[in-house]
Amino acid sequence: MKQSCPLQRRPFGLVLFLVLALCIAALSAHAHKPSDSYLTLEIGSTNLTGRWDIALRDLEDAIGLDANDDGDITWGELRAKHSALAAYAQSRLAITVNDQPASFRLDRHEVDNHSDGSYAVLRFTCAIPATTTKLNVRYNALFDRDPQHRGLLRLNVAGTTRTAIFSPDKPRQEFALLESGGGNSLAAFVKDGVWHIWIGFDHILFLMALLLPGVLQWNKGRWVPVATVREALVNVLKIVTAFTLAHSITLSLAALKVVSLPSRLVEASIAASVIFAALNNVWPVLHRRVWMIAFAFGLIHGFGFANVLGDLDLHGRVLALGLFGFNLGVELGQMAIVLVFIPIAFALRRSWGYRSLTVKFGSLLVSAIAGVWMFERLLNFKVLPF
């Protein structure tokens, strides 16, 4: 007898029929979390490390985990399937670096618990060239079993995180790593440097204290104006160059972690440097060689800059970029101050107001402020609002 298959003739029968109608009300409102996997990629200087969390429920459907079919997935059952899982992962995730396929090595199998259940965790690494400019990820897991599955990617590059969602409609994602990303971050580092000078009153005051007598010279116990613009510019140039050179050296050493000083000590020393520079204007010790003060204390200020850069947590090739950009920003900020200050100071240099009031009284005021800073920083205690 030919099979008439009653099952097939009844799909529109009443029982199934009702279930569908009830589903409308129930499905959307009562669903729990749909299927997601979490893929995290971390770009290092020469390798890429990955972590991929896939729900055990999904793996049960894709490769079958519950060997004894008792409804519980044990670690033993998952472990028995590790090679199948590795093969599945390899076949469903393709990483391309600079248009070259990169093969990844599975380092470790782990498990983790997410809000909706347990996940298998695959940890893998993959060697990449130091000049990775383009990363292409093709994700194809579970879409054939469940088109509503999504792969949620977090890509960590140089302290920044990018996210993307893989879906059956968008299984491929491409990321430009250096050209646009590098450009953006260089600009960001330059901005950070300028900003740090702008809000760093201690650096501004130190520079001002050094520059105030730049348009003067110490002659027989008193400040007299320099004769020519040239003289003033040479003074200022020496000071600024010495300061720049010094803080660039220590900033680099600290950023490369060659030298490291406790930040409280550094910050207090910076305050001390401001006091010294300011008092040197009132009772000059080093009046001919102000650039030497700039150099000596510039070394300390460099450590201060490094603390800011350290907060950004840079490593690998981005460190060089950050160092360069940040330093450039600091110089630009400094240059802006010099360009505003010099013409005014040069114009006013003959006046009593400038020579006595501004240079002497101003320097005393600066040293008083710096004195409070020093105590604040040494004792970790706040008095001044800036």
Binding site: L7, Q8, P11, F12, L14, V15, L16, F17, L18, V19, L20, A21, L22, C23, I24, A25, L27, S28, A29, H30, A31, H32, K33, P34, S35, D36, Y38, L39, R51, L56, R57, E60, D61, D66, D69, G71, D72, I73, T74, W75, G76, H109, E110, V111, D112, N113, H114, S115, D116, V121, R123, D144, R145, D146, P147, Q148, R150, R154, T163, I165
Partner: protein, 397 residues
């Protein structure tokens, strides 16, 4: 047998503690030491009949993946399974079974109706309705398509359309089905009393109806009784519905809401204490625990928060009704709740959607949002004692 207690004995403490990683996938993963450690429980007990059937259908389908009748049958089973377990994975699997016809305009009628059912579950109401239109153009006598159409239109608040879709049912299906479908629309459009009476009477006259049909009718009667403020009758209907079948997540949710309104959080905790997988039931459990000052509330709120964050990460907007309730009642974030409730109301307009919108509007003091609700109630002559009570008590903004 040794089992680390953190995993097996205290799964929720463990999940709550690890809630951060749900969003970031950078938690504390580990390598278990014991092969016997249970990592995941897929179900309680042995394989049930429905799962066995699904497995068998899968095997049959693999032999002939282009057979649309076989595919429809399997997809239907998977959709039912999704409803029973509240796991949307089965919906996704149903979608994959229908993959050969997913993007075609000329799919068979049965497939189109299933496609509509899956599409509406992710709130793609317009394409779902388009699929039903296509199905009805081919087969105007397809009762399933009319019924599904009526239900979707009711969810989005198009009662005129829903009523029209109910008409053909009178000649195409049993009386109980067509009357239940129509009563559902009538109960939301000023005819709740009449619908309630006629459906009650018909149910008494239909002892031969299948359990599924009776559950549907009884659940609807319970919901109408709730909206009419007939508390003890509602309670009776809920209990009848529970007696008729298995634990149904939809029914559990509706009953939990009813009990929460009656200020019986302890009963809700007893009812839902093991229902932590479905977000909607976990939400009600957490609401009850908060109301009863139960120490577990904190853990459950943390899990819910992690799940909503995970949904947001994948760009889902399917749970906004629940998410708004979560933000308003469990986190006290009124403005966020109102924003979610408004966005949700633009898509779904069931009494529960009106309720959370009104509650958030009153909490924030947003007269425009409140006016949306009052206008909807007025336009459709919606009868709902809970909405009336809210408007009376907090009505003056």
């Amino acid at each position: 047998m040794l089992r680390p207690p953190s995993f097996r004995l205290k799964p929720f403490a463990c999940r709550a503690a690890l809630f951060l990683m749900a969003a970031s996938a950078s938690g504390t993963s580990f390598v278990p030491q014991d092969d016997a450690l249970v990592l995941e429980r897929l179900r309680r007990g042995p394989v049930d009949q429905a799962t066995r059937e699904i497995r068998q259908l899968r095997r049959q389908r693999e032999l002939n993946p282009q057979d649309d009748r076989m595919a429809a049958l399997l997809a239907r089973r998977l959709i039912s399974k999704s409803r029973e377990t509240s796991d949307p994975r089965y919906l996704g699997q149903a979608e994959s079974v229908l993959a050969p016809w997913w993007d075609t305009t000329n799919a068979p009628v049965g497939i189109l109706v299933l496609r509509a059912t899956i599409r509406q579950s992710t709130h793609h109401f317009a394409p779902a309705l388009a699929d039903l239109d296509s199905a009805l153009a081919i087969d105007p006598n397809n009762a399933q398509a009319w019924l599904t159409r009526a239900t979707i239109l009711q969810v989005v608040g198009d009662y005129t359309g829903a009523r029209r879709a109910c008409e053909p049912l009178q000649r195409l299906t049993s009386e109980l089905i067509s009357v239940t479908a129509l009563s559902s629309v009538q109960s939301l459009t000023g005819e709740a009393e009449g619908a309630y009476q006629s459906l009650t009477n018909l149910l008494q006259r239909s002892p031969q109806a299948s359990a599924d049909q009776r559950i549907w009718a009884v659940t609807l009667l319970a919901e109408i009784a709730v909206r009419l403020g007939r508390t003890s009758e509602a309670d009776d209907f809920f209990k009848q519905a529970f007696a008729l079948g298995e634990r149904d997540p939809y029914l559990l949710g509706a009953y939990a809401d009813f009990l929460l309104d009656k200020n019986q959080p302890r009963t809700v905790i007893e009812l839902l204490k093991d229902e932590t997988r479905a977000d909607s039931l976990l939400l009600r459990l957490a609401l009850a625990e908060k109301a009863a000052n139960d120490p577990k509330a904190g853990e459950h709120i943390a899990i819910l928060k992690a799940r909503f964050e995970a949904s947001a990460q994948r760009g889902d907007k399917v749970h906004q009704r629940e998410e708004a309730r979560f933000h308003l009642h469990l986190l006290g974030e009124k403005s966020r709740a109102l924003a979610l409730a408004l966005e949700n109301f633009a898509v779904q307009r069931e009494p529960a959607d009106l309720r959370i919108l009104l509650e958030s509007a009153l909490a924030v003091g947003d007269t425009a949002a409140k006016a949306k609700v009052t206008q909807f109630i007025h336009t459709h002559r919606l009868q709902d004692v809970q909405l009336d009570r809210l408007l009376r008590n907090g009505g003056e903004i």
